[in-house]
C-alpha cells in the first residue's frame, strides 16, 4: 500500500478538560429546543378539566381543595402520560433521526450528552408542573381563610413528574422509534390507572407509596389542627427520586455510552436509584395510621405531632360556638344548626355550656367515600364538667363536597349533637334513645319523615326491614308513634321528663313503657 511522504506527527496536544461549562451550555441548548413546551397547553387544558374544575368547587380548606389534585394524585395522572410520552420522544431522538453515528463520533460520552437532553426535558416537565401548581394554589387559595398548602405533597408530585419523565426518556433511548412515545404515554396512563385502583381500595401498607393513595395521609382536618404529616410524602419523594435516578443511570449502561469507568458509575447510579426506591416501599409498608395521619416511624418527626396554635372564631347559638379559623365560613351554619337544639336542652343536666370544634381523626382503612362517616371518625361528645360539645365538622362532608349541601350539613350537626346528648354512643342507641332523639330532632326543625334521610348520611342509618337490606325510608311504626307523642308534649313537660330521666336514658336503662 502506498504511504504518503508526510512526517510522523508529534505527540498530540493535550486539551484541558472543559466539561462543566460545556455541559451547562448543552443543557441550555436542549432547554431552548425542547419538545416538552409543545404539549404544555394540552396538559394545562386537561388539568383544568380533570382536576382544577372539580377542586374549585370543593370547600375552602386546603386539604379539601387539594384532595383531588394532590391527595388522589390527579395532577400526576394528568401530567404523567404526556411527560412520559414527550420524554420518550426526546430520548429516542438520536435513533429516530439517524444521529447515532454522528454523536457517537464525538468526544463527550453518550451518557453525558443524553443526560443533558434528559435533564433539560426533566427541567421543562417539572418546571411546567410547578408553574401549573403555583397558579392553581394561587387561584384556589384566594378563598381559603387559613393555613397553607401541603408543600411536601407538591414536592412529591414534582419528583413524580421527574420520575415519569426520566423513565420515559430511558425507554425512548433504549427503543428508539416513532411509536415509542405513544407506548410510553400509554404505559404511564396504565400505571396511574392501576395506582388509582389500588389507591381506592387499599388501606395502607406498601400501597401508601402510590401517588394516588390518599387514605391515611391526606384527609379530613390534615394541616389544620396538626401539621400535614410529611412521612408518607417523604417516602414518595424517595421512591420517585429513586426511579428517576435509576432511569438516568440506565442510560449509561450500554457499551456505546462511554468508557468502562463511566459505565461502572452508571451501574452504581442505577443501583443507588433502585435501592432508594425499594427502601421507600419498605418504609411505606411500616406506616401506621395515627390520629393525624399515617406515621412512618423511621421518618417521623415528633415536631409534627405538636398542635398548631390558632385563635378560634366564635359566635353565639344560645351557648358560645367556636370553630377553627379555617372554618370561619361555616360558623353561621354551625350556629343555625345548634341554636334550636341548645334552646331545647338548656338547663338540663349534661347540657353543654359551649360548643367547640375538634379535629376529625384519621382511622385505618379506606374512607367511606360513598357512604357516611364512621362513628369513630365523628367522635361527637359532650364531656367534662361543665360539659362541652366537641364537634368534628370535617368528619361530616362539608357543603360542596361529595354531594352535601348546606341544609344537609346543618341536619348532620344537629343529629350529631342530639345523638351524643341522648347517650346513644357509637351505635344507633336503644329504642328509647332513638325515640327521644327523633322527637328532639323534630322539635329542632327536622320532620320525622325527613329524619331517615339525615340518619342515612350518618353512621346510624336505619336498617331496612326488606329482604335487600339497605337503608329504611321511614322509622318503624312504634318508634315514629312514640316519637310523635313525645314531641307533642308541651316543652315544659318534655323538659321536666328529660331532667328526671336523662341519666337513665343515657345509660340505656329507660324502657319504652317509661316514655310519656
Amino acid at each position: 500500500m502506498t504511504a504518503t511522504a508526510a512526517p510522523v506527527r508529534a505527540a498530540p496536544r493535550q486539551v484541558p478538560r472543559v466539561a462543566p461549562r460545556n455541559m451547562t451550555r448543552l443543557v441550555w441548548m436542549e432547554l431552548r429546543r425542547n419538545t416538552m413546551p409543545v404539549v404544555l397547553p394540552l396538559i394545562a387544558v386537561l388539568f383544568w378539566f380533570d382536576s382544577y374544575r372539580i377542586a374549585a368547587t370543593m370547600p375552602p380548606l386546603w386539604v379539601e381543595r387539594l384532595y383531588y389534585i394532590l391527595g388522589q394524585g390527579h395532577a400526576l395522572v394528568d401530567f404523567a402520560p404526556f411527560v412520559a410520552g414527550v420524554a420518550a420522544w426526546m430520548g429516542s431522538r438520536d435513533g429516530r433521526r439517524g444521529m447515532t453515528d454522528l454523536v457517537t463520533a464525538t468526544v463527550r460520552p453518550r451518557w453525558e450528552a443524553q443526560l443533558a437532553t434528559c435533564a433539560a426535558t426533566v427541567v421543562c416537565a417539572v418546571g411546567s408542573y410547578l408553574v401549573v401548581m403555583a397558579v392553581t394554589l394561587g387561584l384556589l387559595g384566594r378563598s381559603i381563610a387559613w393555613g397553607g398548602p401541603p408543600w411536601w405533597s407538591v414536592g412529591a408530585g414534582a419528583v413524580g413528574v421527574a420520575a415519569f419523565t426520566s423513565a420515559g426518556f430511558a425507554l425512548g433511548a433504549y427503543f428508539p422509534g416513532r411509536f415509542i412515545a405513544p407506548v410510553a404515554a400509554f404505559g404511564a396512563l396504565f400505571a396511574m390507572g392501576t395506582s388509582s385502583q389500588i389507591g381506592f381500595s387499599s388501606s395502607g401498607g406498601w400501597a401508601l407509596i402510590l401517588p394516588t393513595m390518599s387514605n391515611g395521609n391526606f384527609d379530613k382536618d390534615a394541616g389544620l389542627f396538626y401539621p400535614f404529616l410529611p412521612d408518607v410524602q417523604i417516602a414518595r419523594v424517595m421512591f420517585a427520586a429513586g426511579v428517576a435516578v435509576a432511569a438516568a443511570g440506565l442510560l449509561g449502561l450500554p457499551a456505546s455510552a462511554g468508557g468502562p469507568r463511566l459505565r461502572r458509575s452508571a451501574a452504581v447510579v442505577t443501583a443507588a436509584g433502585v435501592a432508594a426506591a425499594v427502601t421507600a416501599v419498605a418504609l411505606a409498608s411500616t406506616a401506621q395510621v395515627g390520629p393525624n395521619g399515617a406515621v412512618i416511624p423511621a421518618l417521623h418527626d415528633a415536631a409534627s405531632d405538636r398542635p398548631i396554635l390558632y385563635t378560634p372564631v366564635c359566635g353565639q347559638a344560645g351557648i358560645p360556638v367556636c370553630v377553627h379559623p379555617a372554618y370561619r365560613s361555616y360558623l353561621p351554619d354551625a350556629q343555625t344548626a345548634l341554636r334550636p337544639v341548645v334552646q331545647e336542652l338548656t338547663g338540663l343536666p349534661g347540657a353543654p355550656v359551649r360548643a367547640t370544634q375538634v379535629a376529625a381523626v384519621f382511622q385505618a382503612g379506606p374512607p367511606p367515600l360513598t357512604g357516611p362517616p364512621t362513628a369513630a371518625q365523628l367522635q361527637v361528645e359532650t364531656i367534662g364538667s361543665p360539659p362541652v360539645l366537641h364537634l368534628t365538622l370535617n368528619a361530616i362532608a362539608l357543603p360542596g363536597s361529595f354531594g352535601m349541601n348546606t341544609s344537609g350539613f346543618i341536619g348532620q350537626i344537629r343529629l350529631q349533637f342530639v345523638h351524643a346528648f341522648v347517650g346513644a354512643g357509637g351505635g344507633s342507641g336503644n329504642p328509647a334513645q332513638q325515640i327521644v332523639q327523633a322527637a328532639l330532632l323534630q322539635d329542632a326543625g327536622i320532620p320525622l319523615a325527613a329524619q331517615p334521610n339525615v340518619l342515612g348520611q350518618s353512621p346510624w342509618a336505619l336498617p331496612s326491614r326488606g329482604r335487600g337490606g339497605g337503608v329504611a325510608a321511614s322509622y318503624p311504626r312504634p318508634i315514629s308513634v312514640a316519637a310523635s307523642r313525645f314531641a307533642a308534649l308541651p316543652a315544659a313537660a318534655r323538659h321536666a321528663w328529660l331532667a328526671a330521666h336523662l341519666a337513665a336514658l343515657r345509660s340505656g336503662r329507660v324502657t319504652l313503657a317509661q316514655l310519656p
Partner: protein, 247 residues
C-alpha cells in the same frame, strides 16, 4: 501517520463489508471511490471510531481507538460527516454546529468563533439562524460539513459530502478540501470522479471490501487508457480497474 490500517476486516453476520484493507495516510486529500456496497461507508465508520473492526489493526492519529482514553483523544481531533446525515429539525444551523462543538469538548471560549468560522467557510452566514427543517438538502449537507470542520480536525472523514450540492457550491467545497488537506488527513468517499480529479492528491478504489487501486488521480487516468467504458478519463480508469479486479 494519521491513519494506519493493517489487514482490517469487518463482517456483518456472514457478509464481509471490509476484507483486509491496509492503508497508511498522512496529510492530504484522499478520494475513496467504489461501487455501491464496496465497503466505503463501513471503512469510514471504522475510521470514525463508531464501528469496531472485526479484526485487524487500526491506528488513528497515532492512537489505538480500541481503548477508551485514546479513542476520546482521536474523537477530539476528528471530523465526520456520515452518509445519511441526521439532524434535529428544531435546531438552527448555528445551534447545530455549536452543539457538535460542545460534544467535541472544545474550550468554551473558542466555541463561538469556531462556529462562526465553520458556518462562514460553508457560505452559510445568512442562514445561521435558519432552522434546519427549513433548509434544502444541499444546505443541510453544508451544515453537516460545518459541524465536521468546526473543531479544525486533523482527520476529516466525509461520506458523500457533495451529494446535493450545486456546481458552484461544489467548486468552493473542493477549495475547502484542498485547504484542509494542507494540514490534515481528509478522506472523502464519493461517486463523483470530478471531485476526485479536482481536489484529491490520492485516490483509492474499493471493490468487494478490498482496496483494488491506490494511487494518484493521474495514475488512475493512466489505467484507463484504451478502455472504452466511461465518458471522462477518470471514469475510464475507474472502470478499467474494476474490470481488472473482477476478472
Amino acid at each position: 501517520m494519521n491513519v494506519e490500517l493493517t489487514e482490517l476486516h469487518r463482517k456483518f453476520g456472514h457478509v464481509r463489508a471490509v476484507a483486509g484493507v491496509s492503508l497508511q495516510a498522512g496529510p492530504g486529500v484522499f478520494g475513496l471511490l467504489g461501487p455501491n456496497g464496496a465497503g466505503k461507508t463501513s471503512l469510514l465508520r471504522m475510521m470514525a471510531t463508531v464501528l469496531p473492526p472485526t479484526s485487524g489493526k487500526l491506528y488513528l492519529l497515532d492512537r489505538d481507538p480500541g481503548s477508551y482514553g485514546p479513542r476520546r483523544e482521536i474523537r477530539r481531533r476528528l471530523g465526520y460527516l456520515p452518509q445519511n446525515l441526521g439532524y434535529y429539525p428544531g435546531f438552527t444551523v448555528a445551534d447545530f454546529v455549536e452543539y457538535f462543538a460542545l460534544l467535541k469538548d472544545m474550550p468554551p471560549r473558542q466555541v463561538p468563533r469556531a462556529v462562526a468560522a465553520a458556518i462562514e467557510h460553508l457560505g452559510m452566514g445568512d442562514k445561521a439562524r435558519a432552522k434546519l427543517r427549513t433548509l434544502s438538502g444541499g444546505m443541510l449537507r453544508r451544515a453537516g460539513i460545518a459541524q465536521a470542520i468546526v473543531n479544525e480536525p486533523e482527520l476529516l472523514l466525509l461520506d458523500e459530502p457533495t451529494a446535493g450540492l450545486d456546481p458552484e457550491q461544489r467548486v468552493s467545497f473542493r477549495a475547502l478540501l484542498r485547504d484542509f488537506g494542507q494540514r490534515s488527513t481528509v478522506i472523502v468517499s464519493t461517486h463523483l470522479v470530478e471531485d476526485v480529479a479536482a481536489a484529491c492528491t490520492e485516490v483509492m478504489l474499493m471493490d468487494a471490501g478490498r482496496i483494488v487501486f491506490h494511487g494518484t488521480p493521474a495514475e488512475l487516468i493512466a489505467r484507463g487508457e484504451g478502455h472504452s467504458v466511461g465518458d471522462a478519463p477518470l471514469e475510464r480508469g475507474y472502470s478499467a480497474v474494476l474490470a481488472a479486479a473482477r476478472s
